[in-house]
């Protein structure tokens, strides 16, 4: 049961990153959690210590979304957004994504597919990047974010122990 929930991440071909995970909920709820801003801002957070002051979603084909994250310690911001290309509730969502301060080249295309079986939902999120270099940069960022998050935690610990 716990195994079924394990998140799978694979690098596919040259330009894709594919994530798969099972959620113990019907796909309508999973779809809402991705597309209603008051729900999305509850879980689409950055690393620990970052808040999400802006989460705007205009859910229609050609409509835009915009996310802003802020590091509470120094106010540093990171923001991204994109345009919805395909919306098929509650099973499919395709949108572009681009960071305002780009850390990977080009624009990415995200495809979310939700398949429901027996009240559980299998989520598959595919991120198609402009080039292999861009894909590898995204994977590398995981490492940097991880390191940054641990520094933040260390800082918290040090401040707390004073």
């Amino acid at each position: 049961m716990t195994n079924a929930k394990t998140l799978q991440v694979t690098a596919q071909g040259d330009r894709e990153i594919v994530m798969t995970r099972v959620f113990d909920a019907p796909r309508r709820r999973v779809f809402d959690a991705h597309t209603k801003s008051e729900l999305a801002k509850r879980w689409l957070l950055g690393p620990p210590g970052w808040s999400m002051p802006v989460c705007e979603i205009d859910l229609r084909v050609g409509g835009k979304y915009r996310y802003v994250w802020r590091r509470d310690s120094d106010g540093k911001e990171m923001s991204m957004g994109g345009v919805f290309r395909e919306i098929v509730p509650p099973e499919r969502l395709v949108a572009t994504e681009r960071f305002d301060d780009p850390w990977y080249p080009g624009e990415a295309l995200d495809t979310l597919v939700l398949v429901e079986q027996g009240g559980k939902t299998t989520l598959t999120q595919t991120m198609l990047l402009a080039s292999r270099e861009a894909r590898d940069a995204v994977l590398k960022s995981g490492m940097e974010k991880g390191v940054e998050a641990s520094y933040d935690r260390l800082e918290e610990m040090l401040v707390g122990s004073k």
Binding site: D24, W43, L139, K140
Partner: protein, 122 residues
Amino acid sequence: MVNYSNALDATFSALSDPTRRAILSQLAGGQRSVTELAQPFDVSLPAISKHLRVLERARLVVQEKEGRIRRCRLSAEPLHDADDWLENYRRFWEERFQLLDALLDEMKTQEKKRRRTKRQRR
């Protein structure tokens, strides 16, 4: 850090080709000669040798000469580094998805409550 990064670039670049990935999965079953490796593919020996050189540069394959036969074996260490990347990316998303799990539970409870109130009103 720069060297580490370059090594990872070489690993991902080497892994981006389907023939090279197939060669690696063959080698995961044990040592093979170059001729043995070439057999399942519709490509020439020089073409396989070229793929092997790429894999060798990425330190994914080690070639050893035994008399006139070149034997290849898998060197898994760079693959572990690439795994570390995926692992960090995975961890970042897993933290988000655990928040989503909690949110979905909450949505379920709220829907139940709403249904109950509706029924009571009737």
